[in-house]
Symmetry: D2
Subunit: 338 residues, 4 copies
């Protein structure tokens, strides 16, 4: 921690800060420059982080030297995290996982048709919402437990894993019964009670980045899962909110190499929400794999016109299949498999 | 709803869209311009909103004519909403309400000292967090029910109302027992299960705008409360996330006149989170009242250096008192009272 | 300057950096913490700023301790800058200046009518564009020198000062002949050749903040003017670009107290561009004065329907007059004059 | 153009708007819905665009149906633009062009060494700044004409084309003498006088997207070049400004497929500015080619520690070479050449 003092900070103020630092069992080092005096603090930065140092008289700015996340960082664990699903599918590592399926589970027949298609193209996970977060109370909110049942039955029939969102602490147990991987949606990335609850389940978990969450905040939310005992965590970049309105969100492609450097956790990309337009999904999915993503999640529907939600960003199975073929070829360039 | 067609849309595609519109009981009106053809849709726009029209072949863009919120809109209710708290304090209307208190409840003594000060200066609500949303799992998470008890006891002793945050659907009942007004925090603005649960309680509710929520989304979240039967809703502008890093957030002052035009619900402003720096709180609080806010919520601490959270944005009681005096004078200019 | 090293930085890398620091005549101070090693650098930070320290092996991050602007900072000059126009009007200080006029100069008659109105209400500056920055090449680009002549003639007839934009280095001399104050538009805030050219003129200058410029960048652009000899500089907050689309821009009200703390230069606010909607201009103008602005610039048109540009954000003279009356009352609360 | 009326718009107001539309030679179509009345306007939308329709009484909102750019759009020209440089190198089409070189021209020797390396790896353009846009007046501003001479001499010796920035209308002629392609920097994307001046030169031009410019605004700035007679225009995505601070900018990968759909002009990507960190450049360059970019521009320096600017985002020649090899393999997957 570096404490930068105001030009007019008094010796008393400096003493006062140093004493507070010492009280916490840390060592202050005062450095008088030509224009500014700074205090470096040696010891565990966390002890000081809870102190509102900016509120101390004479302080201009406080700069953190350490990263605020620990278990999620490469400093804690340098090799990539790889975890194995019950059916042997690996998340992380050489394999680039493909997840496909409808935005929302509508009925069993349609889900089964779509599941067969995505399986055939190479997907190992079936995605689909049973509980849907909708901006408007008047939009379709999902089938609930019925949707979960369809997901489980269809996935078992076709040979896929189920990934689906849980939005409410009270539903964690229920969703865990049906799903292989729990999804924490973008709007709940900082729903801390939900993070804690899911952390305790130790179920494989997909944590989506919030619309306006920094990469640091995403890693801090992952830290909630890890510090509650759940290390089977995959992060997901799904587009952030910016001033640009030509696309629904701005997919942050930079986040992939940044996350691969900062954390050992695998990184998924969702180009469907990242663009909001089926015309752009394939190009951005290719970009994600080329940038080093460990997986892709794409919305697929065999009749987008009739989809209960997000039809405008869903691929038809034929386009999905063509996309996976291109992803496979790009993965090979990088020594990976799809 | 206006459907703009691609330049090369075929007559078959246009027919297909018109048929879909008619199926839903609406009337399509095709308008052939020199360069573009558009289809206007007459009837209840909501029926069409769930249709992913952008996924239809030949469609370039879909533009909504109606606002997606109803109960929260001025079209639904033109006069300002005013609701009366149990002790007779009015929210909305001529009075500008003042809410003050620590970010986090730390212990009863400190809370009591602060409560007496804010009451003396003119506050009618005591704010304070018992359950705290913290980016890091290693930060202090609040006293929980113990904090709620202190809030209730202190508020009763001093003669204030309690406003405090509830973060988890499972805690709504508990917090409702102690609080006069439930606060939905910025990170939970789109925690839809929480919105529904609080909607059903019919308790006075303060809904904070999310860090990257549009004004439209804020009103849609309010719509969740209203459509579940809770009309005692106050909205709160507390700063949005932008590229600017000189302040913790960018307080959206424009949101005040926009909200006053769009909705009948009262609007609070939180300059503490809106700026993140005690040096800027007073200036921005004045701006908020000048712009037409119906209330101000400010963090107050009598020893910011020792505050368990957000000390750098807390006012000491003396500055709080000076601020309220200025707010009162500005309110008078606009024919209002503090 | 603080150089934070990577956890695995080698002694050779640390030596290499320290040697580079010494070569520049500065003193490195190595501080070995439990988890991180940092190098503090004592001496003039500017010498190091031009070095790409992040490119040195072993470096994780470089943190600046000093502010990059000098002449514009409060550290350089603690008292407020006040400058006097040729007719005695003061910019900065106790007086809150009012600037009004059409977005674009359309013809002399209309300009004269509007000028008389704004003068009557209390404005001391006539604003109006002769050269207009337009996103589209097909929009009206302004009357050019003819517009400048009208501005000068009308202002002289009515008793106002002229403030108008110059967009091109080649036009600085021409515009200087007619205008009392040169305006640098938001899109040219980082047109560095223009800044230098205008810096050399020493004419009173209004520097608008760019749509996505940080406050630090605004002050660095001011530094271009000051370091070229022009100290008669007024800064202008006119709204920044964010994700919110309910208004044309998001007026950054926080910027006012931040700028008043960071710099001695006077600060103007433009609520017309800051909101983009005449319905919101008055509320936001009040907020700006309440927050401590040293002036307000507002677009006024007596027939907004016929305005050549920005009619939707122009006030009619009657509303402008009512606004100035409210601003005067708020200014009085703060011990200032309109 | 669709004009949405307020719920309480009077028949007189509707008539007044219709009359104005007719005056302009256009045809209004009034459509009365259950909740809203709208007026569709048939005819050339441009005539209406200059009218501030939002300022008309009774108008709630105006929605544009047409795109505001013409010559730059796919509707105007459906096949991809390909232009040929003097030495036969094609921009646009099957070939993915590679541009490399230092951020700033420092001296001839270093430039020559770097140029030989990038040529060997497969670059066809030498980039390098002679006039540098710098946020601070105290940073190195470039060698000026001397830098241009070095660029020309080195490029001729090695067999490369020169692309370099021009910042000032007064320097267009000078830079045109030395450069093969003129670069318009991000900060000047809306320097409209510069756009017009460069439009008239008809020189091949690289137009960089502004930090906070929408894709629509980028295309409107291109329209300035095209409508002034210059059709040899390449667009460049180089990162936009968002709330994320882990990288210097957020490279908008979505912009590539959006631009390929909207315009016939070739699209370059600059991952050096797009990320600001040499560690992320290769991953993002791969992503750009995978997404369909027509070229890549990368900063290269053989001694980044000594680079006069942007050393932290420069690749050393060895990494540049490895990057180009990967780009070539990805280009092949998509049926293209590097």
């Amino acid at each position: 921690m570096i404490i930068v003092l105001k030009q007019n900070a008094t010796p008393e103020q400096i003493n006062h800060i140093c004493n507070k630092v010492k009280e916490l069992g840390l060592t202050p080092q005062v450095s008088r420059g030509i224009e500014k005096t700074i205090i470096g603090v040696i010891g565990q930065e966390d002890k000081l982080r809870v102190q509102p140092l900016e509120a101390f008289p004479g302080v201009e700015r406080v700069m953190s030297v350490m990263k605020p996340y620990k278990l999620a960082s490469r400093d804690f664990k340098s090799e990539d995290t790889i975890f194995v699903m019950d059916n042997g599918v690996k998340v992380g590592g050489k394999q680039v996982v493909i997840m496909g399926g409808p935005c929302t589970v509508e009925n069993k027949e349609s889900l089964l048709r779509i599941a067969k298609e995505v399986k055939k193209s190479g997907a190992t996970f079936l995605r689909g919402g049973a509980f849907k977060p909708r901006s408007s109370p008047y939009s379709f909110q999902g089938l609930g437990e019925e949707g979960l049942k369809y997901l489980r039955e269809v996935a078992d029939e076709v040979g896929l894993l189920v990934v689906t969102e849980v939005m409410d602490t009270r539903a964690v147990e229920l969703v865990s019964k049906y799903a292989d991987m729990l999804q924490i949606g973008a709007r709940n990335m900082q729903n801390f009670d939900l993070l804690k609850e899911i952390g305790r389940t130790k179920k494989p978990t997909l944590l989506k980045r919030g619309l306006s969450a920094t990469i640091k905040e995403l890693l801090l939310s992952a830290e909630y899962l890890l510090s509650n005992g759940n290390f089977k965590v995959m992060l997901c970049e799904r587009g952030i909110r910016t001033f640009e309105t030509a696309t629904r969100n701005t997919l942050d492609i930079n986040a992939i190499p940044v996350l691969k450097e900062e954390t050992h956790l695998p990184v998924l990309v969702d180009p469907s929400h990242g663009t909001g337009n089926y015309n752009y999904v394939t190009a951005v999915a290719r970009a994600a794999v080329a940038a080093g993503a460990d997986g892709i999640m794409v919305e697929v529907h065999d009749n987008p016109e009739e989809a209960a939600s997000d039809g405008e960003q869903s691929l038809v199975p034929k386009r999905f299949d063509a996309m996976v073929k291109e992803l496979r070829a790009i993965a090979h360039v990088l020594g990976r498999e799809v």
